[in-house]
């Protein structure tokens, strides 16, 4: 039943011919073209679709369009007046409140509803107002600050040569705050065929796929069904060999969510068909769940090439652990467990594709354009240049959009049907199908002499890599390298193993196994401190690795090892917070509230592990005087669209404000590598610097000017001033290349690393990030709940190219670390939505203070390293350390849900009574 419905949206009347039951969000986006309203879950769990109805915030995804009729509908597109952003949008921009930007429209509308009722709200009122909107990037602090600071005006402007280090607003901030930004689901052609992937409801099953001819003939709106028979090379995976994940199942499925077939046709038709309607027979097998089952004799073997379900096994050996273990003064040991964790980016996987002659073009949300291109070309068995990946804006990735999702089926469908095709995951599909953080079982033993100097570190780490390899090998490499912590340890032995199970593929998730290992090594440090009666910060400071010392891989750090400075910077806070919590606990000794302070430290290798990972960046000036950065690095919210121009601008000597960029399009940019491993600022940043220098050289050579000359752009005139001798170039008169550039520079950087030998000795990374965080928590002893009150985070980033963005990365990392520590546990079939899978809301976040330490990295651009992942790594250890300080309970499993902590507290109570 469709009919005409009249809507008044942002003061404009619209007549739409839709069904009254249609979700308002779908009508806004699909019928009216207002794609600023985002859809993250279609279930009211994320608030991305928040709009105002008569001034009150509602989720457009739960509003029948009939109920919006006759009411005043406001969307993000209605905030700006005649292209001028309003004061709230400007405040969001000024504060860096948008990272990926997918939650920004919802946040803005929720805050608008509050501000229309209350001009000067309190922090608590702001939190209540935006409590229904989830953000996975920012940690919320800058959003709250932006709402509170709505009345102020003014933005940071960086002069030529002063872009690096300036807190300039994101260059792509405006489009994210006005609703103009186009994400994966925002630019789908109206005539696109829809692709729906039918997935396995069972974790392990044999599959028989029949003929679809009859179904297709009988079903109106079903254009076709893709099966494995349509896939030229039916396997994908991160590494050049071992592409073990089928695009579409052949005869088996290996996890709940494994792709079986893909329906192609009219949107409503493909949505209405269920597995039961299809000629598919599943015969359930007894699958493998968890590491111990995977290891069992007689367990289902997931892959023929991996007996014992063992993906990989490796051991790092430095010095001689066995020799020193016996005569060490203090030994700590323990076993730790972590579970599956979901990325929960607010933008589900989405994209569309079309065939252009013998090529395929894919517009998709991704972290890795060139990897996607190579993968799709291999699946289609085409030359790589026959595939174009045009990344859309990415609404959060965190590692989860490194593996291909919709890309292969879209490419196959576009080529087969020669029509635009689109695929957008619903939230449950996104959660079922996508990769997860590796669950881990870690056993370790650390030793120290009586002064607290570490003598050895031993660790065995087993990882559940799920059904397919994905990034399993990377995790298996990262953990031995990092497992002894950011300390100088003369003797190290660490073994890691990855096991296949009938669970979602474990992939890349901010930290590649290092956050799991950090929980273990930091508990060891606390144990040793207790054993030796030392201060927890002091023992870390004593052991903090410094330039000139050898890592576990035998790499001598040459520079930029700033853990010591981080810990020194935290010291005053450490003492202050400890005395405050002691006073609090004394005052409240009869209450169930107990406060504690804890500390966690970490290090993190920047870039791929012991592999080449180059980046090429180009920059040019056009006849019109516009500076264009050919930027192959995908901005997933972390800010490369701003960081790379900042670096390039200072290398070139022109203002960053004159920069525009092309992001990620594989037809227009060179390979800058993937946005992962905290590598883009360091690697592509260096390439941007070199590109800027190169362009400057071209210009100076053309003008016959020396190094010291200054440049100035005014429209299409470029002035070169060399000590008062001014030359002016009329750019419009110069010959342009195919891209319209009259001058062009290029930069290439590949961080110097070596492969690792059989004992995993070598130089896996060119540089490392370091950090330490202090957490203050309050535990409710009777309920086992933990509230994190404050985090002080000190991070050595080499050089903060944009301090505001560095803070944002760390704050967002802290939010994810807090989730990992306290609430996030993905259980297939149980937590496949954002109300059963909990991520932190604004009300769960502590007050965060970021202390930026700049121990310059000589290899990096202007001394910079990376910060994307380090923000998350020390948080869970710091929180666990604080819970232990408050309660005496030593945490060995993440997340420490209230019922688990309460059980430990009761155990402790009982033991104390007995003793």
């Amino acid at each position: 039943m469709t009919g005409s419905i009249k809507l008044t949206i942002n003061d404009i009347s619209h007549d739409v011919d839709v069904s009254p039951i249609d979700r308002l969000s779908d009508v806004l986006r699909d019928e009216i073209g207002l794609t600023g309203t985002k859809v993250g879950c279609n279930a009211g769990d994320c608030g991305a679709c928040t709009v105002l109805l008569d001034g009150d915030q509602v989720c457009a995804c739960m509003t029948p369009v009939a109920q919006a009729q006759g009411r005043d509908i406001r969307t993000v597109e209605g905030l700006a007046e005649s292209d001028m952003m309003n004061s709230l949008q400007e405040s969001f921009l000024r504060h860096g409140a948008a990272q990926c930007g997918i939650c920004s429209p919802g946040m803005l509308m929720a805050a608008t509803s509050l501000l229309s009722r209350k001009g000067h709200p309190t922090r608590e009122e702001v939190e209540d107002a935006i409590g229904g909107v989830l953000c996975r990037c920012t940690g919320y602090q800058k959003i709250v600050e932006a709402v509170l600071d709505v009345d102020r005006v003014g933005n940071v402007i960086a002069n030529p040569g002063q872009a690096v280090g300036a807190r300039i607003a994101k260059l792509d901030g405006r489009e994210k705050l006005t609703g103009d930004e186009r994400y994966g689901a925002d630019s789908i052609p109206a005539d696109a065929l829809w692709v729906r992937i039918v997935r396995s409801p069972l974790p392990a099953s044999e599959v028989e796929i029949g003929s679809f001819d009859e179904l297709i003939a009988q079903t109106n709106g079903l254009d076709g069904v893709l099966t494995y028979r349509d896939v030229p090379f039916n396997g994908f995976g991160i590494y050049p060999v071992g592409k073990d994940q089928p695009v579409l199942a052949v005869d088996r499925v290996r996890y709940r969510g494994d792709a079986i077939v893909a329906l192609v046709g009219h949107k409503e038709t493909v949505r209405s068909l269920n597995l039961n309607d299809l000629p598919i027979t599943l015969t359930e097998e007894s699958g493998v769940s968890g590491i111990s089952e995977a290891r069992q004799k007689g367990a289902l073997q997931l892959h023929d090439d991996n007996p014992g379900n063992l993906l990989t096994e490796g051991t790092l050996r430095k010095g001689d652990v066995g020799n020193v273990r016996e005569d060490t003064d203090a030994i700590a040991q323990g076993s730790f467990e972590t579970c599956f964790v979901e990325h929960a980016y607010i933008e589900p996987e989405a994209g569309w594709a079309k065939r252009v002659g013998d090529r395929v073009e894919i517009h998709v949300t991704t972290q890795a354009a060139t990897m996607d291109k190579i993968e799709v070309a291999n699946i289609l068995q085409l030359e790589e240049d026959k595939v174009r990946i045009a990344p859309t804006a990415c609404g959060g990735g965190f590692g989860g959009k490194l593996d291909v999702s919709v890309q292969p089926v879209l490419a196959i469908a576009a080529m087969k049907f020669d029509a635009p095709v689109a695929c957008v995951y619903e939230r449950p599909e996104s959660m079922m199908a996508s990769t997860k953080r590796h669950p881990s079982e870690i056993t370790c033993r650390f030793g120290a002499d009586k002064e607290g100097q570490l003598t050895f570190a031993e660790m065995t780490a087993a990882f559940d890599t799920g059904a397919y390899t994905s990034w399993g090998l990377t995790v298996a490499d990262r953990v031995p390298v990092h497992g002894s912590g950011p300390y100088f340890v003369p003797n190290v032995e660490i073994t890691s193993r990855g096991y296949f199970t009938n669970s979602p593929p474990s992939g890349a998730f901010r930290g590649f196994g290092v956050p799991q290992a950090a929980i273990a090594h930091e508990t060891m440090m606390d144990d040793l401190a207790v054993d030796l009666d030392m201060d927890r910060l002091e023992i870390r400071l004593k052991n903090a690795i410094a330039a000139g010392q050898e890592t576990a891989t035998g790499q001598v750090l040459k520079a930029s090892a700033g853990l010591g400075q981080c810990l020194e910077a935290l010291k005053p806070h450490w003492q202050h917070l400890q005395s405050e919590t002691r006073a609090f606990n004394k005052l409240h000794q009869d209450s169930p509230r107990r406060r504690g302070v804890g500390i966690g430290a970490m290090w993190y290798g920047i870039g791929n592990t012991a592999l080449s990972n180059p980046s090429t960046i180009e920059v040019g000036i056009g006849q019109d005087g516009k500076i264009l950065l050919f930027n192959g690095a995908v901005d997933i919210g972390q800010g490369t669209n701003t960081i790379l121009p900042q670096i390039c601008a200072d290398a070139l000597g022109l203002p960053v404000g004159d920069f525009t960029y092309i992001m990620g399009d594989t037809d227009l940019t060179k390979d800058a590598g993937k946005s992962s491993a905290s590598r883009q600022t360091f690697v592509s940043g260096k390439a941007s610097e070199l590109a800027g220098i190169d362009l400057r050289q071209q210009i100076l050579r053309h003008a016959n000017a020396g190094e010291a000359a200054s440049l100035e752009l005014s429209g299409d005139r470029l002035r070169i001033d060399e000590g008062g001798l001014v030359r002016e170039i009329d750019l419009s008169t110069l010959e342009a290349d195919v891209d319209g550039m009259v001058f062009r520079g290029s930069g290439y950087f590949d961080p110097p690393t070596t492969t690792l030998d059989k004992n995993m000795q070598g130089v896996p990374y060119a540089t490392y990030g370091f950090a330490a965080q202090i957490a203050e928590v309050e535990v409710d002893l009777d309920l086992g709940t933990t509230k994190v009150l404050r985090i002080k985070a000190a991070h050595d980033v080499g050089r903060a190219i944009n301090p505001q963005q560095v803070e944002g990365q760390i704050q967002g990392g802290i939010a994810q670390g807090l989730g990992l520590a306290l609430m996030e546990e993905y259980v297939p079939g149980v937590t496949e939505n954002l109300h059963d899978y909990l991520i932190p809301t604004v009300g769960d976040m502590p007050d965060m203070e970021i202390l930026i330490i700049e121990d310059a990295e000589p290899l990096g651009p202007f001394g910079a390293k990376g910060v994307g992942e380090p923000g998350l790594v020390p948080t869970a250890p710091a929180i666990f350390s604080a819970i232990r300080d408050a309660t005496g309970v030593r945490i060995t499993r993440a997340p420490v849900l209230p019922h688990l902590l309460r059980a430990e507290l009761k155990k402790q109570e009982a033991a104390n009574e007995c003793g």
Partner: protein, 280 residues
């Protein structure tokens, strides 16, 4: 594609109810989440425009809360202290978006074991009014919600209002506490709602305590209520709140919390509810 009816009067609603099988829709906050990725094909009667179904009205011996009254309506309405618990519960429902759209009637009809409105309405001795177009029937809330997602609502009937009797005493207070694993947008692990009325001498003449999310349907703890009645509202009441008082509850053992924990937390929450009432 189904029929979508949007009656404006009770008469039109009656006609719509008689027209055939249809899903009643109010705020949509349970309807849409149950249909993620599915085509919306069923017949629907949207009752949000029916006049007289929204808002709180005071009568000599009771209050009437229309079924389509939203949680925000309740928060914004000026109401006596016996509704404090209901207002607290309203603030804990989802986020502001859900409070603005979700209705009190819908919360009851959806009959989730973790429904935020149920324990507090049990503690208020609420009745529901059901209409099938010809007859209007009143049922105690206990008789209306039968189990997990099961109610006494018959095909062709609609819940039109919730009726709250007025307290006998002048001094009537209420309280509500919810425990979840995060601050906003969270499904309850345990909820406790409590109403106490004090006679002129300050002794508890009426006491009602309900616990939610710890059984298929939220439950009253009648034996504990009886124990507390006749005493003054002081902290010494806490001694009565012992583990055996929650034994009749049968909470789930799931990924969010163990059964043992929920019982344990229920005891703690009951004690804290009393503490808050004492200090209120």
């Amino acid at each position: 594609m189904g029929e979508y009816r949007q009656p404006h009067t009770l008469e039109e609603l009656q006609t719509a109810l008689k027209a055939g099988t249809a899903q009643i829709l109010a705020g949509g906050t349970d309807f849409y989440p149950a249909r993620v990725g599915q085509p919306l094909t069923q017949n629907v009667i949207d009752i949000t425009r029916v006049s007289g179904l929204r808002g709180v009205t005071e009568y000599p011996d009771h209050w009437r809360i229309g079924a389509t009254t939203t949680w925000t309506d309740i928060i914004r309405e000026s109401l006596p202290p016996i509704f404090d618990g209901l207002k607290l519960a309203a603030r804990e429902v989802g986020g502001c978006q859900v409070q603005n759209a979700g209705t009190i009637g819908g919360n009851l009809c959806n009959a989730s074991p973790a429904a935020d409105g149920v324990p507090v309405l049990l503690s208020l001795e609420a009745e529901v009014e059901i209409s099938n177009g010809e007859n209007v029937q009143r049922l105690k809330l206990e008789e209306f919600i039968l189990g997990n997602r099961r109610t006494a609502l018959q095909e062709g009937s609609v819940l039109t209002a919730i009726l709250i009797p007025k307290p006998a005493e002048e001094d009537a207070r209420s309280m509500f506490l919810k425990l979840g694993a995060r601050k906003y947008l969270v499904i309850s692990l345990v909820m406790v709602a409590m109403v106490v009325e004090m006679d002129a001498s300050g002794k508890i003449s009426t006491c009602r305590i309900a616990v939610g999310a710890c059984s298929e349907v939220a439950m009253r703890l009648t034996s504990l209520e009886a124990e507390l009645t006749g005493h003054k509202l002081t902290l010494s009441l806490l001694d009565n709140v012992t583990e055996d008082k929650v034994k009749l509850l049968s909470p789930l053992d799931d990924v969010r919390a163990s059964r043992e924990y929920r019982l344990d937390a229920a005891v703690t929450l009951i004690r804290r509810t009393i503490e808050r009432l004492v200090t209120a």
